[in-house]
């Protein structure tokens, strides 16, 4: 097996064309090679969800995916979630207001997971938000403020309608 392969991918809207070790996980590639340390590694076996990133707008465990598998993909990490003017996104702002983070280690995965949910469903029920984050462990908050943040963000995004821009650069559905 080749030890290194050349990959081409976009991360948070920026193109990267680089060699990468074939044994390197996407999480390690983002953290070590691109210095994007917002993606956290909590368990390295795909359970805790801290490393969740968006691969072509879909959530994926960056600890279970090899960097070479991301060749040709469009990746969004927590560093790419803020609005274009660098203000906090509606979801990030809702997290702040509802005290939905304490240590902050699981937060990037929570944010990417709920970003995916809100891109698909701007009118989720409490149960749907709760269900959406079952793949993300949090040891600090007891989850309730995170669910509240998801619902608050959905409500605000509905009110904003077409004005709201998703992290993927287009209006939300």
């Amino acid at each position: 097996m080749q030890e290194e392969l050349h990959i081409h991918l976009s991360v948070n809207g920026k193109a990267h064309d680089c060699p990468v070790s074939t044994r390197k996980s996407l999480a390690d590639f983002l953290r070590q090679d691109l210095k994007l340390t917002g993606t956290h590694v909590g368990c390295e076996h795909g359970v805790c969800g801290a490393c969740t990133v968006l691969v072509n707008h879909q959530t994926a465990r960056a600890c279970l995916m090899l960097a070479v598998q991301a060749d040709g993909c469009e990746i969004t990490t927590v560093e790419g979630l803020a609005n274009a003017d660098q203000t906090l996104s509606v979801l990030q702002q809702a997290f702040k207001e509802t005290h939905a983070l304490q240590c902050g280690f699981c937060t990037p995965g929570m944010l990417t997971t709920l970003t995916e949910l809100l891109a698909e469903n701007l009118n989720p029920s409490e149960e749907e938000v709760r269900e959406a984050i079952t793949g993300n462990l949090c040891r600090c908050t007891g989850y309730q403020p995170i669910i509240k943040a998801g619902l608050l963000a959905a409500e605000r995004m509905r009110a904003l309608g077409d004005e709201i821009m998703t992290p993927f650069g287009g209006p939300s559905r």
Partner: protein, 801 residues
């Protein structure tokens, strides 16, 4: 303010309107200052440090619970790609060849066994470090670990703490004569008389396994040596920067003024990160030895093997009561599985037994505490620190007594509560802080009443009868606790007005998500009349403050918070004194607002904090006028005279699926009294989060070992943490009994949610099954275990009959 510096007002309740709050910020649910960076992925956790030229380490660990090391061959591994150095015991400096110090010694400890930095000749548990491999990358270091050949002679391992006390049991270490680490007998009052007079005696034995803390970020360390200055800087994902520094000075024989520990963002702690671990010494030593930065980040499997846990305890209890249900006395034999080492002494089991009386008057009590070595990972406090077990055992025996006497569970508690008029109340023990356990303030009967009212306990029988008609098993249970918080000896803070007019707070307090920076900014801002946005808080850097203890035992707001308060007040006085001198008025004619000191009657006469700070820095050669001193800064080390005791009541209502053993919590209510609340938003967050941890302890989390002491729950599929669907929204109600033990009147709030949870939930499960007469004696009750208990009890035979 009174003359003693005590706050006159009890602002307490979370709904206090703004105009009644004691300050602009204190008592207000302000949003956290920490969040902005964390939400953008810009946190600085230890693995996020970008150290130029850093090397990466991996640890080769013992696969055996007990073995002699006969030989280690690194000849193949040494030559593998990227390998810089492999350290074995013999490669360590002499100062690191001793066993690690015991962090909290106690004369009751009969045989001290602590870990070695690297095993010299005998490994005592799975995960003991044997070799430390430094390479250009973590993966190459791990590859080399696989290529190191270690020849072991496997010895018999001790897996069970009760069997460990059997005289024929093997010992955990060849040099140790018995597995009894400490045997403490203590108590108060005349037990024989109490039991002779008793109309009722109720006894039972309980087993509790509490698992580990599992912060989402594992442990990790990085270090860099600067040959130009001789400075060694160590970054850690810890809870106790000064404690780590103290240990590094000893283990590396380092100059105290040339060693600095910095703890930036930490992804959760909950207890185990308080300990000093071998890897920290190894990383620091290698960084010096190799002249290059070194980093080691624990993986989750290692965390299961090596981060301390709480694990197994056995509680044998016997309660003596009058015919009316008044407690006369309590006997307790508690056996604690401490694992192979005593890093934190016997603190955790000691806290456990002394917490047993809780909110009840217990006239006499006898304790036989047996702290036992086993060939397992060491134990030390995890959120709750031994108290959840004590509350579980005590509340279970109270429930059993209620059933025996035909009393409602709430009534037997009411009969025995310490009443508010008995405060301050001495429960008879000497606490873990070395002081008599004197409950300072609180209203336990009211706290229980508030929680039961919130849970609509009175009407539960109607709900339960209705559910049974529908074929559903619902139950309600509750538990009370009293928790010693705000432990000494001290935690300090410096408040300094900088030359740009901004204010800095420096403290050794070490946050892992609690929101310390926000709390300290709130407290400081109110003293100095500046907006919170003008305050920078720097925590957990040993170079900024000379002494510190660390973050554990729900102690930081009560200790460091009060230091910020006192230092802030003192700096306020300095600002006023200097302003009065420069503006030629009396200090009492001045006001402070938005970082400006001005004359109330003529606000045009003013000096900004920046101007005052520059004056206070002095001009070369010029003396200060009388009454003016150098620097607008002060350092305080608030030292409480004893712990302050918070309390609360948790009520769980749940439905049990008897076919699967799965529970669904329908409603969870809690009353909580932690004195004055600096930030109710953050206190509620602490309680909701710690309830989640308690739910894990009640029904999910079980750190399991086989008979050879091999850990068999070493990933998040075998060891379950609560998910979002396991944790309900908790309804909270606060009572506020400010303490007189510190000027802010605050008590700890970080663990109260965890402590009574398992007791309340398991009481509720039992209540759901009340027709069966089952008495539940263990925690956790995982769904399979609960199903098994139902099966063994003949429940399914009965229901199919």
């Amino acid at each position: 303010m009174s003359a003693a510096g005590q706050m006159d007002v009890h602002w307490a309740t979370r709904s206090l309107p703004e105009h009644e709050r004691p300050g602009k910020y204190i008592g207000s649910p302000v949003q956290r200052t920490e969040d902005e960076a964390l939400l953008r992925g810009l946190g600085q956790y230890v693995d996020d440090l970008k150290l130029e030229g850093a090397l990466h380490a991996a640890v080769l660990r013992s696969p055996h619970a007990h073995a002699k090391i006969l030989a280690i061959d690194t000849s193949v591994a040494r030559l593998m790609p990227g390998i810089v150095k492999i350290y074995l015991y013999d490669d360590l400096p002499e100062s690191a060849k001793k066993r690690l110090p015991i962090l909290v010694p106690n004369p009751a400890i009969q045989q001290v066994m602590t870990q070695e930095v690297l095993a010299s000749k005998e490994v005592l548990c799975v995960g003991d470090p044997v070799a430390f491999v430094v390479a250009s990358s973590r993966s190459l270091a791990e590859d080399a670990c696989d290529a190191i050949a270690v020849e072991y002679a496997v010895l018999p391992a001790v897996a069970d703490c009760l069997q460990a006390l059997n005289p024929s049991s093997p010992t955990i270490h060849s040099d140790i004569a018995s597995n009894m680490a400490a045997h403490v007998k203590m108590g108060f009052g005349d037990l024989d008389q109490a039991f002779a007079l008793a109309a009722h005696r109720v006894r039972d034995t309980f087993w509790i396994n509490r698992g580990s803390a599992h912060p989402m970020e594992t442990r990790g360390y990085a270090a860099r040596f600067d040959p130009a200055t001789g400075d060694l800087c160590v970054w850690s994902s810890g809870q106790t920067p000064h404690l780590e520094k103290k240990n590094l000075i000893d283990v590396l024989a380092w100059h105290p003024e040339r060693l600095r520990v910095i703890i930036n963002d930490v992804g959760g702690g909950f207890g185990p990160k308080v300990m000093f671990y071998p890897e920290e010494a190894l990383v620091a030593h290698a960084a010096h030895d190799l002249g290059q930065p070194v980093k080691w980040i624990e993986d989750r499997r290692e965390h299961f093997y090596t981060a301390t846990q709480e694990r197994d305890q056995w509680w044998e209890m016997e309660l003596a009561l009058t015919a009316e249900g008044i407690i006369l006395g309590l006997k307790l034999i508690m056996t604690h599985d401490n694992g192979a080492y005593l890093p934190w002494g016997i603190i955790m089991p000691y806290i456990g037994v002394t917490t047993t009386p809780g909110p009840y008057v217990i006239p006499c009590m006898g304790v036989d505490l047996r702290v036992v070595y086993t060939n397992k990972n060491a134990t030390s406090p995890v959120r709750g620190a031994g108290r959840p077990q004590a509350v579980f055992a005590m509340e279970r025996i109270m429930d059993k007594a209620a059933h025996s006497l035909g009393l409602d569970r709430s009534l037997i508690r009411e009969i025995n509560f310490v009443k508010p008029e008995q405060m301050p109340y001495n429960n008879g023990f000497i606490y873990r802080d070395g002081k008599p356990m004197v409950y300072d303030t609180g209203d336990y009967p009211r706290c229980q009443a508030m929680a039961l009212e919130l849970a609509d306990y009175a009407n539960f029988p109607v709900r339960q009868a209705q559910a049974r008609l529908e074929g559903r098993f619902i139950g309600i249970g509750f538990a009370n606790f009293v928790e010693g918080t705000g432990l000494g000896p001290f935690e300090g803070a410096t408040v300094r007005v900088q030359q740009d007019g901004r204010v800095t707070v420096l403290t050794a307090a070490c946050p892992q998500g609690q929101g310390h920076k926000t709390i300290f900014a709130q407290i400081c801002a109110d003293q100095l009349g500046v907006p919170m946005s003008m305050i920078d808080v720097i925590t957990a850097d040993t170079s900024t403050i000379s002494m510190g203890i660390g973050t554990f035992a729900s102690r930081i707001t009560a200790t460091a918070g009060n230091s910020v308060y006192l230092a802030g007040k003192s700096v306020r006085d300095k600002v006023l004194a200097l302003g009065a001198f420069l503006l030629q008025v009396k200090p009492e004619e001045l006001s402070l607002e938005d970082g400006v000191c001005f004359v109330q009657s003529n606000p045009v006469l003013r000096k900004t904090f920046a101007e005052l700070a520059r004056v206070s820095q002095g001009m070369p050669g010029f003396s200060f006028p009388p009454g003016v001193t150098n620097g607008l800064e002060d350092t305080q080390y608030f030292s409480p005279s004893q712990s302050t005791y918070c309390n609360g009541t948790a009520v769980a209502e749940l439905e049990l699926d008897t076919d699967t053993g799965q529970i669904n919590i329908i409603r969870y209510c809690m009353s909580h009294d932690s004195g004055n609340l600096i930030n109710p938003l953050l206190v509620d967050g602490q309680i909701q989060g710690s309830i989640a941890h308690g739910i894990g302890n009640a029904t999910l989390e079980w750190m399991r070992y086989d008979d050879e002491a091999q850990p068999i729950s070493t990933n998040f599929a075998e060891y379950l943490l609560p998910m979002s669907t396991d944790v309900p929204h908790a309804q909270l109600v606060h009572l506020c009994s400010p303490t007189y033990l510190n000027p802010l009147g605050v008590k700890g709030a970080g663990e109260g949610g965890t402590i009574p949870a398992a007791a309340a939930i398991i009481s509720a499960i039992e209540n759901a099954l009340k027709e069966t007469g089952l008495f539940l004696k263990e925690a956790p009750l995982t769904p399979p275990r609960l199903f098994e208990i139902l099966h063994e009890s003949g429940f399914f035979k009965r229901s199919s009959a």
